[in-house]
Every structure is written in structure tokens, then in C-alpha cells.
């Protein structure tokens, strides 16, 4: 399964747009990209998923270039409540064998007033 690499931490200010990029160089043809958010003392929460180009929902946008070797989670106009750890996760759409979700350490985003 594709290994992912993200920045360990990022800082931003309220009202700014935040972009977190994840590298997944050996992503397979059938793999999807998903992102999760985790607050302290809670389980991760699904934010968005995508396969290619751009996906947008009420929370975030996900940009995936044509080669799909990376993806960027975009959070518009962040607030203090967006302070959390963000994980990029590559998921196979079909499994002949086993599937081992790999979260990595994620990106710790701190939003300042």
C-alpha cells in the first residue's frame, strides 16, 4: 500500500486558508485518498475523499493532480476550532487480500487568534 508523507506541524491564523499536502508517490491505480481530522481525546473523523482532480464539500476541498502522487487538503478561512491533527490515508478500492490502513503521524495544525 502507498506510504504517505505529511508535514509534522503547521501554524496558521484565524481567517486564513490552510493547505496541507500529502505525498503518496507509489499510489496504485485503484487507490483512493481520504483525509481525517482528530481532536484530543476523540477518535478521528472523516473529512473528505477523492480519486482525482478536485472534490469539495462543506468542510474542505481536496486537490489531486493528474499524476496522483500527492494531494492537498484545503481548509478555507480556518478558525480556532480547526486546531487538530490531520491525517492523509490511501485506501484501495478493491482488495484481493488484506487491507491495512496506515495513518502515519499526521499534521498537527495550530490556529492562532
Amino acid at each position: 500500500l502507498a506510504k504517505t508523507t505529511q508535514p509534522i506541524s503547521m501554524d496558521s491564523y484565524e481567517g486564513q486558508e490552510v493547505n496541507i499536502t500529502c505525498s503518496h508517490n507509489n499510489i496504485a491505480t485503484n487507490d483512493y485518498i481520504t483525509w481525517y481530522q482528530q481532536f484530543p481525546s476523540q477518535g478521528p473523523r472523516f473529512i473528505i475523499q477523492g480519486y482525482k482532480t478536485k472534490v469539495t464539500n462543506e468542510v474542505a476541498s481536496l486537490f489531486i493532480p493528474a499524476d496522483r502522487k500527492s494531494s492537498t487538503l484545503s481548509l478555507p478561512r480556518v478558525s480556532l476550532s480547526d486546531t487538530a491533527v490531520y491525517y492523509c490515508l490511501v485506501v484501495p478500492s478493491a482488495t484481493g487480500g488484506s487491507y491495512i490502513p496506515t495513518f502515519g503521524r499526521g499534521t498537527s495544525l495550530i490556529v492562532h487568534p
Binding site: 483512493y32 481520504t34 481525517y36 481525546s41 476523540q42 477518535g43 478521528p44 473523523r45 472523516f46 475523499q49 491533527v85 491525517y87 485506501v91 484501495p92 478500492s93 478493491a94 482488495t95 488484506s98 487491507y99 491495512i100 490502513p101 496506515t102 495513518f103 502515519g104 503521524r105 499526521g106
Partner: protein, 116 residues
């Protein structure tokens, strides 16, 4: 409906004790995952069920760890003869089968295990 629930939320065990952690997935979700999360780290995969079948247990750190899901719904993670290095948050997640359109896993709040 209700989300994924886990019990107990907190567990303190003396070294050498056995513990059992319970996960109630969302009704109808056939896939169930267990993870271990150490402080400051991301969730680490332990094991995966599809209905009652345990399809992968390669992440279980030792033979002291055992998971079951006998009727394809509730799952229990058991740790025998707990050690201090077992102290962590244990997360359970459920989802639809992987071949469906959504790859979203729904996580429970976790059980924080402290071994003294």
C-alpha cells in the same frame, strides 16, 4: 442512529491483569477495525474483521492480544497479562465494505488503557 461506542472509556489495570475492551459498531457496518494509538502518534492498525471473519491480524503486537467478533456485530479486544507498554488509547472503527463507494471509517471515542 448512534455512532460507534466503546466501553469502558477508561481502564486502569495492574501489570499482569487481563482486560477486555468492547466495541459496538454502527448497525449494518460489516467492516470493523481496531487500532492502538500511543501519545503523540497516529492510530496503528491492529486487526480487521469483515462480518465475523478476522481477515487480518498482522498488527497485533503479541500473542497476548486477541480480538473476536463472533456474531458479526459487537467486537471485543482482549489483552492478557497486560504490560506497561500496552498503555495506549484503543480505537475501534466501523465502515461499509471496501468495495462500496464510501471509504469512510466511523471511529468510536476510544478506550484509554493505563497499565500500572
Amino acid at each position: 442512529g448512534a455512532g460507534v461506542s466503546q466501553s469502558p472509556r477508561y481502564k486502569v489495570a495492574k501489570r499482569g491483569q487481563d482486560v477486555a475492551l468492547r466495541c459496538d459498531p454502527i448497525s449494518g457496518h460489516v467492516s470493523l477495525f481496531w487500532y492502538q494509538q500511543a501519545l503523540g502518534q497516529g492510530p496503528e492498525f491492529l486487526t480487521y474483521f469483515q462480518n465475523e471473519a478476522q481477515l487480518d491480524k498482522s498488527g497485533l503486537p503479541s500473542d497476548r492480544f486477541f480480538a473476536e467478533r463472533p456474531e458479526g456485530s459487537v467486537s471485543t479486544l482482549k489483552i492478557q497479562r497486560t504490560q506497561q507498554e500496552d498503555s495506549a488509547v484503543y480505537l475501534c472503527a466501523s465502515s461499509w465494505p471496501l468495495r462500496t463507494k464510501s471509504y469512510e471509517q466511523y471511529f468510536g471515542p476510544g478506550t484509554r488503557l493505563t497499565v500500572t
